[in-house]
Amino acid sequence: MELDNLKERFFALVAPDLPNDWEVEEALEGLTGAAPDLVETVLAQVPVIWPVSNSLCYNYLGQAVGALSCFPPAELGTWVNETLDRYEKGGLQAAQRFMVHVEEEFVCRLRGIAGLRFDEVQGRLLPYVRGLAGRDLDLAAAATACTDGETIYLPREISLARGEADNFLLYKLTASFQWAFLELGSFAPASPLLPAAPDTELAWLPLARFFDSLAHPGLAADIYLQLESIRARAFLARELPGLMREALPLLPACPAWPAAGDRAGRLVSELQCYCLSGDIRDASLAAAHGRRLRHLVEPGTDAARSLELCRDLHAQWCRDAGDYHSPQPLFFQGTFRLDLVLAARNRRRRSLEQRFVDTLATVLVQTPAPGKGTGGDREQAAGEAPAPDVALVLDSGGKRHRDAEQTAFLRINNEQVALDEELEALAREVTDEFGFLPPRFISSAAGRAGRAAAIGAPGGPAGGGEVQAPVVYDEWDHRRNGFRKNWCIMTEKEIPVTRSTFIAATLARYRGQIVRLRNQFEMMRTTERFLRRQRDGDDIDLDALVESLADSRAGLPPSDRLFVRLARDGRDIAALFLVDMSNSTQGWVGTAIKEALVLICEAMEKVGDRYGIYGFSGMRRLRCETFHIKHLDEPYGDGVRQRIGSIAPQEYTRMAPAIRHMTARFAEVDARIRLLVILSDGKPEDYDDYKGEYAIEDTRHALLEARSAGIHPFCITIDHHAHEYMAHMYGAANSIFLDDVRKLPARMPEIYRVLTS
């Protein structure tokens, strides 16, 4: 077909769009020489792709003919659909990759060699891995399996076995193996061979340093990986016998064999063999090291033993390691990525340092300097205030006595101050991680506290004569065990409405779920129940009648409450949703919260409980803000929906004034159950020194005030550090933590349902 003809056909297909002439020409060039019916097949898919993405469509035209040389034309539709799938999940590049690798990505599966992709197994494996580890490990895809201690990386696809079930089993085996490495402490053996590091350095890992000190680091690392794999396999056979029994038949019989001259490579392969089959085939290896190798599979051996054996094996073989090439690792053992382990450790240490310094600085700012008044001495306020002289003492002598009374206190300018629980727990975490408490943590906290003191005392007046705002609330100061009177000024504001397709998109996206929710919530509404022993009603209450007859025979005055009345259960619940609109909700979190609100509104309309929605944010005590989204008795209509759609991150999280404001609003409401649901993504915090313990105590007090006013507060949070303070702030059963913000829209109505039934 001629190019002009093709162009004409193409423009007709994409009308009324008018794409660039030259782009179209370039894309159609590949089709010019093709057979007419082939061209028709290819063009038939254009209307499917064009509306999704124009560039994808051009790409498609370039690739289609090539792809059709790999599979029959009848499959083109399936191929295009999958391309679009990839596009929607991974963007243009993913789709392009898929189109280019026709053979691996598509044809293999077409022939029935079905692989299993990571995203297909992630949902099932994640809770499995967390259950195994008993902590929040994450899963991610990578080229080969490995772990850094916080995330287990798994291959993007496993297609070694025939069916989906078997491939899944291999995925599970791989994940379990990585877990075993973590469980066995493979990355941090307690061995005298390792260089004793003054562990403040973020730059290196003792294990990596040890390998580097040997003649052939690569060989040593490989040997160590094999020895640890042998240990891990034995460990899994003990811990997870079911898994190993099922997975063993799927494992390869023996590893890939290295080139003939590579003696060191042979050793590693022999070790892989031992890991796979459980016996040592090489006679000389068995003679020289059999006892120690077999010792590895016994329960109770530790990584230090592997390391010792690794050193000896390396010493024996490193002379032959001239042309050593690392053999292909067994897919389930993956590799040791000490760089990732180091990065994760450093991330953990930095975050720990950050938290520790923050907390200590807050404590220092809030602790009145000894010898001075609580108001603080402002003489030096203009310049740099002197950093207080601080020392933190944990367990005199630095040795840890688990059973003995632990001494822990803070020395500020030579006076002892008791540590609060949070700080003490953090300090212990630091010593566990680093082995001791690095002095620079304390000096930087002291420095920061000094600077903060120079800028101003906590909550110092921000702008002098502020205008009188509508409502004023007290703030709880736990240090003086009393209120700061009329401390926070609360303004209720309207949200600036922006137009967006958010609501329509959410309603469309959760269409099925909304229908289901509406049904569920409708069921809650129609819990009909018989009110028995009524003075009047629809039917006679036989029990009451019999009892009254009996009473009268017994000589007692018979009751006149003899009727049954069918009543809809008066739920009489009023709920207020208080939404965190702080800056940190930007992005995913904010979207999930908004979606959750839309869903809960749709559901609430069915159950008939009264509910209101407010957002809160603000900066400093003089500008606390709540945003009206829906008043309690306001009908749910377009206005409300638009306001939900317009929720946008504002400033800080001074939560307590907002809670007090909600309590005040509730005071006007007459309902049997008054429920305050708080949606938050983190600790209460404000621009000034409203943070740490002070903020938590104030919020806790505000919640206590709410509770004593007969309100049930409940918090849904997605802060990963929430466990440390949540139970204290809200009470054990009054809060819930969601590990994945994307679950929020689905979980929130469910939580509400459980709460109120």
Binding site: P127, S176, A550, D551, R553, L738, T756
Partner: protein, 270 residues
């Protein structure tokens, strides 16, 4: 009166129930009993609260009268009512009255499920008055020293409708229960289900895994009771994976992803 004796005898616990103490709860309960103080047991479902009561009743040699509370439980269900028998109105003691008269132990299981107006009838029994007014008969029963009141509830439920009023809860000696330590739990499962120690240990390990799924959406992990049930199925010939599937996995959740994950744990462990 003969009829009453029979009714009471049914509540007597003759054989020593198996109970493995977690701490000094047995001693505390015994002393509370001697001082006439009521007990409040709290803890997750299936962790041994009811078994503890049975053991205590056996140890003290008192009958145990258990009432499972529900939201339709009325005061007369507890205290008693007049019934018509052969044209005559006969007073019939409720379980609580029966227990007070006989000096038995009355155990109100899941007391938060009962309506709050029902729970207040235990108030005068649960403080130093130790008396039960029976309004219909104009009778005021004084509890003998042998009588003991015990209630239990699960603080893990997050429903705002289900909570004990402070005026109710502040009358009790409160014992907090939790799942036993792994070794102890394995011993319990092994004895109760009559299975091999290794299997019991694996079941406990499975329970431990499910209990750490709180953040992934599983409100409560597998209880000791579930483990015992699974173990019993295995001991009577059901293959272990099938037994775990029906006794543990499906009993825990309806969420397909969680079900799949727990299934994977089962198939890894066994």
């Amino acid at each position: 009166m003969a009829g009453k004796e029979i009714r009471l005898d049914a509540h007597r616990i003759v054989d020593e129930p198996f109970y493995l103490a977690q701490g000094d709860e047995v001693r505390i309960a015994e002393i509370s009993y001697r001082c006439g103080m009521p007990l409040l047991l709290k803890g997750p479902t299936g962790c041994g609260k009811t078994r503890f009561m049975q053991y205590l009743a056996w140890k003290l040699g008192r009958p145990l009268i258990t009432v499972s509370c529900h939201d339709d439980l009325s005061t007369s269900d507890l205290v008693g009512r007049y019934l018509i028998r052969a044209g005559e109105a006969v007073w019939m003691d409720g379980p609580l009255t029966l227990a007070v008269r006989a000096g038995a132990i009355c155990y109100l299981d899941e007391v938060v499920e009962a309506r709050k107006d029902t729970t207040v009838v235990i108030h005068p029994l649960a403080d130093d008055r130790r008396e039960l007014p029976i309004e219909k008969r104009g009778e005021l029963l004084r509890a003998p020293p042998e009588f003991m009141l015990a209630v239990s509830y699960n603080p893990g439920y997050q429903s705002v409708l289900k909570d004990l009023k402070p005026s109710t809860r502040q009358r009790f000696v409160a014992l907090s229960f939790d799942y036993p330590a792994p070794d102890q739990e394995a011993e319990i499962v092994q004895r109760e289900a009559d299975i091999a120690p290794e299997l019991a240990r694996q079941l406990v390990r499975l329970a431990g895994m499910t209990r750490s799924l709180g953040d992934s959406g599983l409100a409560e992990g597998a209880s000791t009771r579930l483990l015992i049930q699974a173990g019993k199925l295995v001991a009577r010939g059901i293959p272990v994976r099938a037994a775990c599937q029906v006794a543990i996995t499906q009993a825990l959740s309806d969420d397909p992803e969680l079900l799949a994950a727990i299934d994977e744990m089962v198939s890894s462990l066994f």
